[in-house]
Structure formats: C-alpha cells, structure tokens
C-alpha cells in the first residue's frame, strides 16, 4: 500500500494494482507515483504468493500522461543533458522488470489512457480495455513538443507496426477503445463491469509473461528493413511529410521518426536508450517549453477562467439573445445551441434570421452524415434556435450578443431596442471587430453592462474569444461573459479597449510589413513562402485577399472620419489604395494580390510586378521571417505597455489562436523571450534604421533589456 497505489492480492494470488494518484482528479505520473509504482512491481515480482498482476485505476479514467508541471522541471533541474538521459533510461527499468520478471502483467484499461498512462499498459503482456465511448487512448506528447519518452516509440511500433505507430505518434491522435482494438494496441475489449474479471481470467488461463520483442526471431509487424522497397519508400515519404508539416519549426515529429527508425533496428534495451536521448534533446529545445507554457499551461488556466473577477456568483446562460444572423451571428448561435442553450436569433427580416439558422442546419447535417451526431440530437439543437424579428422575444434572455453590421447608428439602434426589453442586469456584449467598445457603449443606458466579445470566423472552428473591457464595463459583466465562454468551451483572453483591440491591431502589422516589402521590391512569392515556412497558416499577402482590400480601405476611411488628424494610417496604405484603385479588391471580388482561376489554384497576380518591380538582389528568407514575427511581437509589446493587454499570457494565447502566430514560438511574448529581449531590441533598432520607425522600441522594453528581464521566468 502506498499513497498513490492500492494493491490487493486475491485468493488466487493475483495482485490488483489500482492506480489512485493522491489529490488529483485524473491519474498522472508524478515523481512520487513513479517510486510507488516501482515498489509495487518489485513486490509483485518478489512475493512468491503472487502469480501475476492486473494494472488498473481506481479513478474513472486509467491515466493521463506525465504531470508536466512537476515531472519535467524535476528532470530539467538536473541541468545536464547526459544526467537527464541517464534518469530517463533508469526510469525504463521498471517497465523492463514487468516485461522480463517472469510473472504475467495485464492492463485493465478502465477509461482514458494517454501518454505515460498508455505507455505503462504497453509494458504489460496483455491489454484489455473497457469498451467505453467516452474513453480515448493515445500518445499525444507531440502536441506539446515532446515524444513518448516512456518507451512508447519503441513498444508501439513493435506491437502494431512502424507505419501506424508513426501516424499515431507524429499526429498525437486519440483513439476510441474500439479503434485501438482494431489497430492491435489492445488485445481485448470488455464491458466495464467485466473488465477486472476478464483480466484475472487471462492470468488464470496461463497468459504468457513474455513480450514478443523478447522472443527469439522477433520481427516488427509489417516488416522493417532499410534494404527493402517497402521500408525505403515509407521512410523517404514520411521524412518529407514531416518536413512539409513542420517546416522544420517543430523538432518533435522528426525525433519521433528517428527514434522509431534507429531504435527498431536494435534490441529493445538499446532502442529505449535511443528514445531517451531524443526525448532529452526535445526537452532541451526551447520549442517544447514554449508549447507546454502556451498551448498547455496557459491555455488550461485561461479555460479555467483565470481572468474571472472574484466575488461574482457563477452565471449560467440558459437563453441567449443573438442580434444579427449574418455569418458571425449564425456561428455564435450554432456554438451556443450546441452547448445546450436556447437561442433567439434576431434579424431585421425573418428571412435573414431563418438563413442564419439554416447555417446550423447544414452544419449539423454534416455531423449526422459523419455519424458524429444522432438525428435526434440534431433536431433537439435546432429546435432551440428560434429565428425572430420581435425584440420582445429577448425579454427572458440571460445574455445578449450583438453582431449586426459594423455601423454605429445601426448598432446604437439595436442596443436601445434591446435594452428596452431585457432585464436590468443582463450583459450586452458586442461582437464588433473594429469599433471601440467605449464609443459603442455611449448608446447604452447601462454602460456597466456593456462589453466587447470578439469572436473569430468561422466561430465553430476558431477556439478564441477576445473580451474587451470598455471604460465602464463592470467586473460583473466580465465574470458573466467569461462564464458563458466556458459554457461554449472557448478560450478567453481579456483586453482593454483600443482601436482594433489587441488581435485585429497586431495581426495587421504583418500585412503592413509584407506590403512594405512589396514596395521594396522583395519577390512576393518569397514573402509568402517565408511566412508559411515560419509557421503562419497563410501568407500575409494571401490573407489580405481573404479579409479583402475593400474592407481595409473601408476601415481606413472610417478611421479618418473618427479620428481626423489623430489617425495614423498604416505606413503601406498606399499599396492598399493602389490595389483598390485598380479594382483588385480581394478574393471575394474575383482577384486582389492573387488571381483565382476557376477550378485552378490561385497564383500571384503577375501585374503586381509591373507596379512594384522585383529587385535583383533578394533578402535572405530568415530576415523576412524575422521581420514578420518581430513587427507583430513589438506591437504586442506596445499593447502590454499601453495596458491594452494586462498579461503576456493573454498576448501569447491571442496571437496563436486568433491569427495563427507560429505556435512553436509559444506566441508573441514567448518569441521575444526565446530570441532574448536584448537581441530583440537590437534587431528592432536595426530594422528601425533600415525599414522605418514602426520598429521603434518603447523605453520600457529597452529597460527590460538592460535589466536582462524576461516575460516568463
């Protein structure tokens, strides 16, 4: 018995090892657990009365992976790479003891088993999974820049073959127990209440205590021989696919492939050493740290509403009033209804409102066709979306979201009409992407209830919501809004009011930078490739065609109108104006920076070179990447400096999830940290001189550089 494991021995001498990690809702591998588990295995092997062991969990799920918050720091704390590798190699011994100790171990996988959890089961001689629809199995370490370092890269391919193992591990795929069974990862499925007895029965039936790879003449299933056509073709294509998918920014996938390739040519003990060394290599690489911080730790804490003000009672939205049934309104209605809310979808005509609902219909129809949803569930959701033109329908709503046309007068009109019917304390959230919230709040009689809630398109796919605090927005309004965002399972960031808020403002700086490069005579194909190779999902030129040049010029005109002399347009506004004047308004209008041939692939508009000739000498691609990422990171810093952002965490999450800032960097602030603030400042100074004052460094950042500070410890 120990703190993290319960062990009982039944009358047949079968030990049941029940994992129950203390103070954790989900079993994770901690330093203590690892010690307990080792002792437990030793006891099984040492106690003559025990004939074999069942490994299972006392919790609802089997086990997730290693506890990233404690396990990794304890490893990294060793400082030296060889010492880390030694520690990892040492940790493999318990698995090898299970495999070679002569007593049968069987895994009774009662629920989800991921990462290090699944790896423990791979060291068992037999795996039985509970046939639960809500359980998943997988080795998702790649998602945080790591590889399965508990023997996964060695055991999985030896169990299911090289290609399927590579697919699972390089993509971090999750499998349902039935899929895992079909692939051969588990040997049997069992009804949850028969799991334990089936596991014991396997031992009683004489289950063999030997792993396939410890038998003489073992061959990797499906074959593995670098002198055969199959292996040669598979690896040459896999290598290229990894390069294509990572653009050499993420070191984990190729390390996984190498660990499999090199390790599976060797006996398993040597293979485990190879894995340990690639694992430590990834641990030492800043990318895993960036990904763990932003994509795991910070995202998790944002999802748990870190930013929610204390002292406001939890608020649940049962009925949502959605103003505007255009693309955004339709999307917000969809995700809200899916989360179980009733949605009044209001527009100026019933036809428009119906059209907004039809968007959900089409979407859920697809889910049904893909067998991801039942017909009944779909009908239930759709029944909850009620198209209307009648403001009085909004009277019982718990939250109002406005997504009407980006026009002050129209927004003011719907705000007043809505406030006339809703309750005193109901939050009114505007999904504007361009108009400052404090200005819009002027039309409200209850500006403390008025807040910005900026969704991204398409709403059902984009994970982020940017909350914007107007001058008078209350903590209560924020808390209630955040509760709603948790209901629809999105990730919130909270920013203060400013033109373009945080995401729209900073995002556009890389478009401006690209246009500046076009003016300088940089080959547009090189700019686009540089952005994609840096890890952006789309090039900064193509993206302007998507958002349309038409819209950019409209916002430009609106800003002149609003701000007059105070308005400082983007330095490359002349490029936009030129395109606008030539009628090249964007993709939706048939062409912009690109041509869009019918049925063919888009290509850069050749006419662009006539206006902005491509110069003979081209910059190094690295400088283009650096410029794009630097200009955004610097402007993000200005947002922090100006209190538009209040934490670097929000800045990082927003940059990755709103506009696809390369995730391997961990986001804009992690990027500056990774480059080093001193070096970053020096680079900006250099760019400021060469490319313009948009690279001017705020004094406060210079001070941070002088003090050798960082955004993250």
């Amino acid at each position: 018995m120990s703190k993290n494991i319960k062990m009982n021995i039944d009358q047949n001498g079968i030990a049941v090892i029940e994992i129950d990690v203390q103070d954790r809702p989900m079993n994770v591998i901690t330093v203590d657990f690892a010690d307990d588990f080792k002792n437990c295995v030793e006891q099984v092997l040492g106690d003559e009365k025990i004939i074999g062991a069942v490994v299972t969990s006392a919790k609802n799920d089997f086990m997730a992976g290693a506890d990233l918050k404690t396990m990794l720091p304890s490893l990294i704390g060793l400082g030296d790479a060889s010492a880390m590798a030694e520690r990892v190699i040492e940790s493999h011994k318990v698995n090898r003891a299970m495999e070679t100790g002569g007593k049968p171990f069987v895994a009774a996988i009662n629920g989800t088993a991921l990462g290090g959890g699944l790896e423990i089961t791979l060291s068992c001689h037999h795996r039985i999974a509970a046939d639960r629809k809500d359980a998943v199995l997988g080795l998702p370490e790649v998602m945080v820049g790591l590889l399965p370092g508990g023997g996964g890269t060695q055991r999985l391919p030896r169990i299911i073959g090289i290609q399927p193992a590579l697919e699972l591990m390089t993509q971090g795929k999750h499998l349902k127990p039935q899929q895992a069974m079909a692939m051969g990862i588990v040997n049997e499925l069992a009804a949850p209440d028969e799991l334990l007895s089936k596991a014991k029965q396997w031992i009683l039936d004489g289950g063999k205590a030997v792993q396939p790879w410890d038998k003489k003449g073992f061959k990797v299933p499906g074959g593995f021989d670098p002198n055969t056509k199959g292996t040669i073709q598979m690896f040459s294509v896999v290598n290229a696919m990894v390069a294509k998918n990572t653009n050499h920014n993420y070191p984990a996938p190729i390390s996984i492939v190498s660990s499999v390739y090199e390790g599976c040519l060797l006996p398993i003990d040597k293979g485990l050493e190879i894995e340990a060394k690639y694992f430590v290599g990834l641990l030492m690489d800043p990318v895993s740290g960036n990904m763990i911080r932003s994509l795991f730790n910070n995202k998790q804490s944002a999802d748990k509403l870190r930013a929610r003000p204390d002292g406001v009672e939890k608020h649940t939205v049962k009925t949502l009033g959605m103003l505007g049934a255009g693309m955004m309104g339709a999307g917000i209605a969809l995700v809200s209804a899916r989360a179980g809310m009733k949605v009044y979808l209001l527009d100026s005509s019933l036809e428009s409102a119906e059209k907004g609902k039809a968007y959900s219909e089409k979407y859920f129809q697809k889910s049904v066709a893909r067998k991801k949803m039942t017909e009944e569930k779909k009908a239930e959701i759709l029944e909850n979306i009620i198209p209307t033109i009648d403001y009085s329908d909004l009277k019982d709503c718990d939250l109002i979201i406005e997504a009407v046309f980006e026009n002050r007068e129209i927004k003011a009109d719907v705000t007043q009409k809505t406030e006339a019917v809703i309750g005193e304390d109901i939050v009114f959230a505007s999904n504007t992407s361009t108009l400052p919230i404090s200005g819009l709040a002027e039309s409200s009689g209850r500006p403390h209830n008025f807040i910005g809630m900026h969704f991204f398109s398409p709403v059902e796919r984009m994970p982020l919501v940017e909350m914007i605090m107007g001058e008078q927005s209350s903590d209560e309004a924020l808390a209630k809004s955040l509760d709603y965002i948790a209901q629809i399972k999105k990730t919130p960031i909270v920013v203060n009011d400013s033109r373009g808020f945080y995401t729209s403002r900073v995002f556009s700086t890389s478009c401006n930078e690209a246009n500046e490069m076009i003016k300088e005579g940089v080959n547009p194909a090189l700019i686009e490739n540089a952005a994609r190779h840096a890890g952006y999902p789309v090039g900064p030129i193509a993206v302007q065609d998507e958002t349309t040049i038409d819209l950019s010029i409209k916002i430009h005109k609106q800003s002149i109108e609003d701000l007059g002399d105070e308005y400082k347009p983007m330095s490359s506004i002349d490029v936009m104006q030129k395109m606008y004047d030539l009628g090249r308004l964007g993709k939706r209008f048939g062409g912009g920076f690109y041509e869009y041939p019918e049925g063919g692939k888009k290509f850069l508009w050749p006419g662009l070179a006539d206006i902005y000739p491509v110069k003979e000498e081209q910059p190094d691609i690295q400088e283009i990447k650096d410029r794009l990422m630097t200009v955004q990171s610097l402007d993000a810093y200005r947002c922090l400096d100006e209190n538009v952002l209040t934490t670097p965490d929000d800045g990082d999450l927003g940059s990755i999830f709103a506009w696809g800032f390369p995730p391997w960097t961990g986001g804009v602030f992690s990027y500056i940290d990774m480059v080093g603030i001193e070096k970053f400042v020096a680079r900006c100074d250099d760019y400021c001189e060469r490319f313009g004052e948009r690279f001017e460094v705020p004094d406060s950042l210079r001070e941070m550089a002088d003090k050798k500070e960082k955004f993250y410890p």
Binding site: P226, N227, T228, K229, T231, I232, Q233, F235, S236, V237, V238, N239, A240, M241, V242, A243, K244, N245, N247, H248, I254, V257, S258, Y261, N523, A525, L526, E528, N529, A530, H533, K601, F603, L604, Q618, I621
Partner: protein, 401 residues
Amino acid sequence: MTDAYIFDHVRSPRGRGKSDGSLHEVTPVELLSQVLGSLRDRNELDTSRVDDVIMGVVHNQGEQASNPARVAAIHAGYAEEAAGKQLNRFCASGLEAVNSAAAQVMSGMSDLCIGGGLESMSRVPMDTVGGALAVDPQVAYGSYFVPQGISADLIASKYGFTREDVDSYAVESQRRASHARDEGYFKNSIVPIKDSLGETLLDHDECIRTGTTVDDLAKLNPSFQQIGDFGFNAVAIQRYPEVAKIDHVHHAGNSSQIVDGASAVLVGTKEVGEELGLTPRAKIVGFASTGSEPTIMLTGPAPSAKKVLKRCGMNTDDIDLFELNEAFAVVVLHYMKEMGIEHDEINVNGGAIAMGHPLGATGGMVLGTLIDEIERRDLSTGLVNLCIGGGMGTSTIIERV
C-alpha cells in the same frame, strides 16, 4: 607527372531494365565479364599487366555487391595479377572509375588499368537499395532530401524551362540516337552479349524510340506529381523559397531510361602501350569532381566542367564536343545555358533519354561515345560530364592523339 592514355573502350548494348529486357537473364558479373573479355580479346591484352580493374557500381547490393570488379575479372579469365575494386560516385561512377584509373597511371603507381562500370537495373532495382540519404530521418530531413525527379522539376521551375522545352529536347535526343545507330556509329564499341549457349541476346541499344514526336510526348503524364504532393515539393520550396510552385515537366519520355549495361575503358602509359602494341586513341587531359547544392542536386556538371577547364588552363571554346549524361532533359538545357554552348555541340548522338542510363556503367559509355565521335568527325578535344545524386558533378577532358 605521367600522361594517361586511352587505348580502347568497349561497352555492352543497353538492354531494357525490366523483366522483358534482353539482358535480364544475364547476371551482373557475367555481363561485365563479357565486356572485359572483349576488351582483352580485341586488344590481345596480356592481362597480367593490368594493375587494377576499377568499376563503378551504384547499387552495390545482392549480386552486384562485394566488388564485382574483381569477381568479373576472375570470371572473365583475367590473370590473377589483375586486381579489382569497386567504387561509387552515384551516376558518375563509371567516369570516376576511369578518372581513378588515370590518376593511378598519372601518379606513376600503375602502368595499365581498366576503368568502367556496371549496373544491372533489371536485377538490382533502384528502389530496393536503401542508404541513409533518403531513408534515415535525421539525414533526409536535415539535408532537405528530394528524389532526383523533383530536383529536375525544380530546375525547370526555378530557371523557367517549360514542358515544351524539355519535350523538344527529348525528341531531338531520340532522333540523334536513332540516326547514329542506323549509321553504325556505335557498332565498333558495342560488345554483343551472349547467353550461356553462345547465342547473341543483344547487339544494339534496344530502347531507342525512333520517330518520337513532341505530340507523342505531350500525351505522357508527369512522373513526379504524386510524390511531389506527398511532401517533396514542399521540401524543395523550403530550400528554394523564391520558387512559387513546382512545375512537373518531366516524365518517362524526357528522362533517362532504366537499362542494364556495362562498360570498360583501357587506360595506361605511353610506354606500356608501346610494349604491348596498343595504340593510344586519346589522352586524358584532366578531370574534376565538385559538390553542389544537394536538394536541386543536378546542377553540378557546369561547376565541375568549369573547374576542370580552369585547372587545365582551357576554356569552353577549346572544347570541340561535349557529352553530358541525359539524366533528365532539363539537366542538359540548364547546362547549355550555364556553359554558353549550343545543342549542336553537345550529345550529338543522343543520350540516355533515348538509350538509357545504366547508372554505374554510363560514365564509361558516354566517354567512349565521345571518343568515337571525335575520331569520326576528325576533331580534337572533348569534355564529358555527368550530374550526380547528392549534388555533385564529375567531368573529364580528353584530347585525341
């Protein structure tokens, strides 16, 4: 430094490199042995005087593994003193073997050597031989490896050669090869290959497609589109980000054909020639190899040609005829542009697009073809070149004597 002379050269005909090819039943060692035997017999060569038999073999695996140079010499009945070694410079192996033979002679450490090569592509297929370059993840990923066909299409995309350009080149290669064969230009150097009963299996290059037109070729689908889409195009563009997209212009009709073949070139000092009654046909003026960027891979010939020209104090105008292995049509087109030469100065009797490219053997074959043609046209100098996997070029300058 001793001068190295070429006394003679022979080669097998090139048989289709598939199971229906005329040389498929012949083992690689037997194929090379017959070529070596012929070189000996037609020169009445005292093989005990041969210091080394140096053979280029690219896919040294299975029947072609473990030094077939020495094994074929034994099998051909060469004197036991004739040593043998196998070397690998990928597609230039055959030429490299001749250069290596020349180097041994020029250094004064050998009097008489045979260089050449062997590749039985129907029996040791390309895709069954691994090696680290494409397969080992650390190597392939780190070096931005792409298959040669993608490299060829990358050259076309980067330098603006169109499908029509490469197809026109290929048609002309077929026309020239067909003409040269019909006129008997290759006859003197080809060793008919016989079966175990002594019947001739093949006495001519069997892959030439006489009468191929641009319209015929226009019907063929690009060969490398699919693997490009798997990820290799992306890798090529990672290395060459100025290229917007890869145009897949190469196909079976404008790329070198897969064939079986062997070649042998007799190299030695003037003195040994006089002693053994051998008449020098050409002098090896110089040779060079160089590396080039590995992803685009096939642009090494021009730098290697410029390197050897410079080393020999010569320039392009001093060369009467050029031979560059037609691995892919674009390789020659790009080379012509880089070297500033016209199509009527290069590959005048066609090349591998029409006749095939038996990897390790090709270098010896194109060198031989060049010597024969210089003699036929009564010219003086020639430069032979091959592009090479992994990004290299090898070249040799010869002068008729």
